[in-house]
Structures are given as C-alpha cells and as structure tokens.
Symmetry: C2
Subunit: 407 residues, 2 copies
C-alpha cells in the first residue's frame, strides 16, 4: 500500500507538532493527538481503494494491532471505512479469519465548477477524486454577475439531482473564474465578465454550501488539471496558456501553483498595451473593425477562414500568432518552465503549435517544450475538482472524525 | 536564544529520518545519529554569537545536562565552540560556578565572488556571515575565459593574504557569473563574456579550493543579496532586475530562489528580439551607430548627457526606458512579485525609477513596488557570500564534526 509506512506518519507528526519536542511528546502524554495521527495514517494506508487486512494495516502503518483495531473501529463508525466480506482462502492465519477493510470513497463527494464567459461547467467526484458525473450549460456573455452565479448554482443543483447525490454529502467545492482572485475568494479584477470586478464570489457561493468553497483563477486551475491528469503529468515546472484575445496563464513551480504575491501571476494579456501596440481585437479582424474580445465564435471563423486559404484571414491570423508568441515568450523567459501547455479555444489552435515551437526555440535561451492541452473544455472544472480534492485530502490526513473538521 | 527549542531539533530529526518511524527510533537505538542531531541543535542554540551557560543550553535544547556536556566537549575539541571566562556574579548557581560557551564563528571562513564583465569582486566573511574584508579589481571586457578566471583566482589570493586568512580555513565559496549556469556549475550560455559559453566554471574553480564551490547566475545572486540585507529584507516575492543593454533578472518566490527548469528564469533580454524590434544598442545610441553592448561607460555618458538636457540623448534614453519598462512589465505580469528591485549600472538609474513605477501602475493588473538596489557594486558578490553561507549552515546544522562532511 504505502512505500514507507513511516513517511506519512512522520510528516503528520511533524506538521501537527511544529515547535514541540518530538521525543518527549511522543513518549509522553497527549494521546488524543496521537489518535488523530494514527487515524490519518491508517486512512492513508487504505486510500488507494483496495481492501486490506488488519494484519496488512499493522504492517503498513507501523502501529500495534490493538491500536489499529481501535482506529478502524472509529473509522467504520464515522462511515469512512467499511468491513468487506472476502473469500476465506489466503486471508486466513492460524485458523482465525482475516478481517478486510476498505476506504469508503463514496462517503462524501467533491465538486469542480467553472464559471466562464460562455458556459458554466460542473464535475462531480467521490472522495478519491473518481469522476462520477459532469454537466455543462451555455450562458450568455452579457449575463450580469448575479445571473451568472445563479446559473452556476442551477448547474450544480442539476448535476447533483441527476447523480442522485445529496448536497450534504459534499466535502469541498472548487470554483474557477476568469480574473485575479484574492485568497479569500473575492474577484479583485475581472474584466472578462460583466460586474465581476469586486465581486465577493467566495461569500456568494458559500451560502449555497456547508462545506469549504475554494475560488481560483481559471488559467491557474487549468495548469493544475494538466499536471493532475493531462499533458503535464509528472512535470513540476509548467506554464498553461489559456489562449484568447487577451491570454492568461497559470504556472506550476516545483509542482505547486504559483499564484504570485497578489494572485495576478501569469496575467500576461496586458503586455501588448505597452508601447501602444495594436490590440489583438484589431489584429485578428478581417474587416478593419475590431472583433468583440468575448466573441470566440468570430475568432473561430477567422481561424477557419485562414485554414481554408483566405488571404485576409491568414494575415490576421499571422499577426495574432506573432502576438501570442510574444506573450508566451515573455512567460517562458521570465519563468523558464519545462513545458508550455496551450489551451483555451477548443478549435483553431492546432496549427499554432509549430510556429510557437519554432519561435520559442529562436528566442528563448532555453526553449521549453510546447504542447496542446489534452483535457478539452473541462480543463478548468477539472482543476477546480483537484483543488477541492486537495482540501479533502488535507482533512482525511489530519483528523479521524471528518465531521469534526468540516466547514 | 531560540524561540522554541524543539523546532530546529524537530526539523533536524524529520530531515535526517525521512521515512523512518520517529517514535520507535528516537526511543530505541542509533545513538550516533542522535549525537549528530544533538550537536546540531546545540550549535543552533549558540549560533547568534552570545555566550551561553551550560544550564541555558540545557533549557534551550531540551536535552539532558549530561548530553549537553558531552556534545559541548566534542564541539570544543573540533574548534567550533570555545569556553569563555565570565565574571562570577549572575552565573553562579548554588555555589557551583557556571560554565559559559560561545560559537567560534572565526573557526572557518566563506567567500563570495563575482566574475563580471568589467570587474572581479570578492568578499570574505566568518562562519556567521560577518563580513571581514573585500577586494575588487577592474578587468578588461575583452579578457578570454582563462584570463578572467585567473583574475578571479588572483583577487581571492590577494584578499586572503591581506586578511591573513589561510585558504584551508575556507568552508564554502559562492561565485556569481553572467549567463545561464547549470546546477553543476558549468555555463550553458554566456554571451556577455568572451569564451564563456560552455565553460565548466565550477570544475575550473574547484581546483583552487578544497571546500565546496557553488556557481550561480549574477542576477539570481543579486536577488538573494537584496533579500538578505538590502532593499528586499522581509519580502519573499522579489524580482531583481540587473539593468543593462540586455537586462537579466533574478526572482525569489516565497523567499527561495527561482532558477527555472533549466536555470534560465529571468533572462528577459531576448524579448526585444521578437518582432524584429530595434536592439537596445541602437535605442541608446545618439549617433545612429549602435553602442557596444558591453561599453557601460558609453551608456553612462548618454545617460549623463540626457540628465544635462541634451535632446538627442534624452530621446535615446526615453527609447531605452520604454524598453526597460516593457521587459520589467513582462516579468511583473508573469511572476507578480511584491517588489521589483532595480540595480546594475551604478549611476544613471535614479531617474528611471519614477517612470518605471508609473508605467507599471498603468499596465500591471496588480503593480509591484519598485525600488533601487541598496547594496551597490558588491550586490552580486554579497549574494554569492549568502549562497556559501547557506552551504555552511547546512553543514553546521546536520553534523557535529565539520571536517567529516566537508569537500
């Protein structure tokens, strides 16, 4: 189950006892703290989902058999662990039937939500992060903040209803939004959505849930998602570029999200305003009239025309590409990631990849790899789900009674 | 002495015993490991330089009196701790005279070295990081790599001779260099110095020292130095911009150096090559002929002329400033630091500050503070010194016999 049974325990001990004298305390009193640690370690040993015998748990956790028995009893009571019936072959030891246990990932659920310009998306998973449903709904780009938040609430309710999951079983909700998001979940700046700047999105959504609600910038969540199960698995230094008329980016450094001092890291879209260069809305226009920055359909039309050989559209696309290369190069030069993942507009980015690679190879002193997102339109919602899962893992890891530490 | 005596010990334990079962091991065997931890904890309690009694050490470390006595005996033998004579007033306890001890920061030394375009600089300090001497020597920008490394060696020898310090007493040497430096100390790319690209600078310098030699990019070290004792003390998210015709930058994120995946983070100078924009050598020229990128004197002349009201020079400076703003904005947008420190050219940057602040405030979604470096020409060498000091603190913290872990 666990590579080194002592490791999570040692980490839990170190975390919970920061500043205390380890040796004295571990051999001395404070047994309730020890019980919490022991429960967390036992859960860890169970968390990959396979059924495990009590004897295996004793081995994996390094705890005594009576201790594990006590811990398991509490976890079964709390609903986090279930005893499983198994065939009576290999499990037997000296005639005594082995008892098998498993983690009940279905004991709770988590949600990942994206509140976007054109759509609201929700994904639902169990406590192990296993996805069990999703729901998306187009919304009008002109919706005001109240209506947009309402659309997100409705989408959540719809998904829960379809999946037959009670709202009370939610342990954590992650939410992705465009703009600069403060740590408390309010939107410091969000020009892409009407009425978004200054919105206390966290407070609004927390009314609808009794569990923690975590808000994060959309591009940041996309980076997390690609690292979790997309194009950046196994890579710790990643920049995700959410390509658009005003591109945003999210970065992982050493596998951790880099939010920046004020949560604004990667908001590279403003770079073109310097030096009074032409805006991307004009760059991509084929008519001389600027495109609406939120009109992705119009952008897709231009990109399609360009692919079909339309000369004016090809020029426009070429100008746009140069801008994107410049923005991505700025990110790559500043951060020096191993990998740049490009996502966003579902269509039209395929032929951006090669020119981007070429130009970065020319101008970056150490060019990064460049690839397309593999997670499609759910990328932000999946990152939000991972954010919620992190919160749950923190809870599972540090307590024995989930109800004691929630909300 | 120490805020919480258990903290460093707990950390040392956690670090040395990663993956082991803490409780079992601490109460069980492996006393040599325990001795090492105890020595490190005792040294920590002594390291701020003040003399401390044995009784105080017992309190600060949480160790038993006989253990501390044994540890101190070993540390005195190794030269790292000295017994100090004190007046016989407050130190007495029940008639038994208190014994006082202090850390011998003079037991070893560290060096910080900058190998630059126009100068080689060296600073010397004791094991507590207290500076005890410095030496700088101008070098010709046209020196080849062999000559330049030789000049650094000579400068080191000169400073050691003047300070009366033996080379054998060096515990660690930090070295700053322009260019992209690999983790092993070789220069992956170094266009500012002739023959620098591909140079195995680490291997070259290690021949001259028996202690560890650590090589790092100059702007990275400048960021570390400003955080240590300059304009960025107490700030964990900092970008240092080494202004020049091709500016470089170093970043701290959460107080730690961000090198990037390939050590190239912050090498923003290439950004202007995109889009075939004019090079800074031309931007700053007042004659139509490009300036030599390494000719800082010529640059300083243009900046001085501009300050005196020369219109052509003012235009050139204005163009240069726009470029610098663009580069710094790219860094700020990508990384979102709390503070940008501008350094480099000793003269001529004063009136860069205000326009930089204004422009960043206009274009950054969350503008950083902007300030000038306070460490002057030694900034890179001081950062190199801090790098060496980190190495020494690692040694002091994890072992009882320094000679056992050196080299």
């Amino acid at each position: 189950m666990l590579a080194g049974a002592g490791t999570p325990r040692a980490r839990a001990v170190a975390r919970l006892r920061k500043g205390s004298d380890l040796a004295d305390r571990l051999t001395g009193g404070d047994s309730s703290l020890l019980r919490r640690i022991n429960a967390a370690v036992t859960l860890r040993a169970l968390r990959d989902g396979q059924a495990v015998t009590l004897t295996q748990l004793v081995g994996d956790t390094g705890l005594s058999r009576p201790t594990v028995e006590g811990v398991i009893e509490g976890l079964v009571e709390s609903g986090l662990v279930a005893e499983v019936e198994q065939g009576q072959d290999s499990g037997r030891q000296r005639g005594r039937p082995a008892r098998w246990f498993r983690f009940r990932a279905e004991a709770g659920h988590i949600l990942g939500v994206e509140i976007g310009v054109h759509a609201v998306r929700v994904v639902l998973a169990d406590l192990a992060g296993q996805q069990i449903g999703s729901f998306a709904r187009d919304v009008d780009e002109a919706l005001d903040a109240e209506e947009r938040v309402g659309a997100a609430r409705t989408a959540v309710a719809e998904l829960l209803r379809k999946a037959g999951i009670s709202r009370d079983s939610l342990w954590a909700v992650g939410v992705g939004s465009p703009g600069i998001v403060d740590k408390d979940g309010s939107v410091r700046l969000g020009t892409a959505l009407p009425g978004w700047t200054g919105l206390d999105l966290g407070a609004r959504l927390r009314r609808s849930f009794r569990c923690p609600v975590l808000i994060e910038n959309d591009a940041n969540l996309a980076a997390i998602a690609e690292h979790w199960q997309g194009a950046a698995v196994g890579m710790g230094d990643v920049v995700f570029v959410l390509a658009g008329l005003s591109p945003g980016a999210g970065s992982l450094i050493n596998g951790r999200l880099h939010r920046g001092f004020g949560g604004a890291a990667g908001e590279i879209g403003a770079l073109h305003l310097l030096g009074q260069q032409v805006t991307p809305e004009r760059l991509l226009s084929t008519t001389g009239k600027p495109l609406d920055p939120l009109d992705e359909a119009a952008v897709a039309r231009v990109l399609t025309l360009a692919r079909e050989g339309d000369l004016v559209a090809r020029d426009a696309k070429e100008r746009f590409l140069q801008r994107l290369v410049h923005d991505v190069a700025a990110l790559a030069l500043a951060i020096d990631p191993q990998l740049v993942v490009v996502g966003g507009w579902a269509a039209g980015l395929d032929d951006v990849l090669e020119p981007l690679r070429e130009q970065l190879a020319r101008f970056c002193l150490r060019p990064p790899e460049v690839t397309l997102s593999t997670l499609g339109e759910d990328v932000v919602a999946l990152g939000a789900l991972r954010l919620a899962l992190d919160q749950v893992e923190e809870q599972l890891f540090a307590v024995d009674q989930p109800s004691g530490s929630r909300g």
